[in-house]
């Protein structure tokens, strides 16, 4: 059976798809056979972020309904050998996702030799989001250091602890990780943004990483390249660290302390 990881948050726009794309890419680059599934039926975007939007023929709902098989629907990533994307349907209704259907797809991915399946959850707490987390073994809860995002993260943690299969069957609970994104060390230092420690203290979930706020994320999505591929980018390095920590490697936190820009930088600008 493949290890199923849900990337979730409750709130929209916090970086779930960016995170799903980068973590799945990171795992594939480490040699693990990885599939990333878009659960946002009706509003798919993972295909755009991964840069495979023009190669979508079949989708998750087609596979669930038996209109296509997994081999036909999985799109091989253009950068990584071991990475496959299963897009969401753009036209169907969210109710097309059934628990049995999703379970069947996940089982089949396991039979196909996948090591990891990343489930990119839609925002909200409705059917799509619940389906994405139902079969999770681990959860990466993405949160911005901002009040509504933290509150929604707490809500989704409650749902993980009550509606996931592991919770329903009384098995070992879903392993939770907190990922703080769009972090601005300067604003934290100025006392105008929650620190990652604050967020962690509030949510009481082990921290897997902090992704700095950066213009690079837009640059990456513009091109359809997962942010982890970017050269000389803090965001890429931060995501590589997240993948390493996920694989139980020890990595100190980076990009969380504010460094005052030097005189030259202040005079001439620069990133």
């Amino acid at each position: 059976m493949a290890r199923v990881i849900v990337v979730t948050s409750g709130k929209g726009g916090v970086g779930k798809t960016t995170t799903s794309a980068s973590i799945s890419t990171g795992l594939a680059l480490r040699g693990y056979k990885t599939a990333v599934i878009d659960f946002d039926v009706g509003l798919r975007n993972l295909d755009l972020i991964m840069g495979c939007e023009r190669r979508v023929v079949y989708d998750l709902i087609n596979v669930v309904n038996g209109e296509a098989n997994l081999h036909q629907a999985l799109i091989k990533d253009k950068h990584c050998e071991n990475l496959f994307i299963l897009p969401a349907s753009q036209t169907r209704d969210k109710d097309a996702l059934t628990e049995e259907g999703v379970e069947k797809v996940l089982k089949e991915l396991g039979h196909m030799g996948f090591d990891y399946v990343i489930c990119d959850s839609p925002a909200g707490i409705e059917r799509g989001a619940v389906m994405a987390l139902t079969f999770a073994d681990e959860a990466i809860v993405v949160s911005n250091p901002e009040v509504s995002s933290v509150r929604d993260s707490d809500r989704i943690l409650g749902i993980l602890q009550s509606k996931s299969r592991r919770a329903m069957e009384g098995r070992e609970p879903v392993k939770e990780h907190l990922l703080v994104t769009r972090y601005s060390p300067k604003r934290v230092e100025d006392g105008e943004m929650l620190s990652y420690k604050d967020v962690q203290e509030l949510l009481r979930v082990p921290l897997i990483g902090v992704i700095p706020e950066s213009d690079d994320v837009l640059q990456a999505s513009n091109q359809g390249t997962p942010a982890i591929h970017l050269k000389d980018s803090d965001v890429a390095t931060a995501y590589q660290d997240v993948v390493a920590r996920f694989l139980d490697e020890d990595r100190p936190l980076r990009f969380v302390a504010y460094e005052k820009p030097g005189l030259l930088k202040r005079l001439f600008g620069g990133k």
Partner: protein, 86 residues
Amino acid sequence: MSLLSYFFGTKQKTASVAKERLSLIIAHERGTNRAPDFLPELQRELIAVISKYVNVGPDDIKVQLEKQDNCEILEVNITLPEQPQR
């Protein structure tokens, strides 16, 4: 620089306000959303039993389940009426 320090000097430190508000609302919502199904029933039965012996109303008994790491604490708070018993 003087312009910069002017701005920095007057900026409010709002992160601590955010943290305080969040810790309150999260604690509250955890209490209501994650409570197991039996809590309301337990509360009703406790009221029924205790009111047999002491004059307490439904609002005088509070049942809360708190979670700390791996440990769950069931807290039952009963406010007894104020008049002396003897």
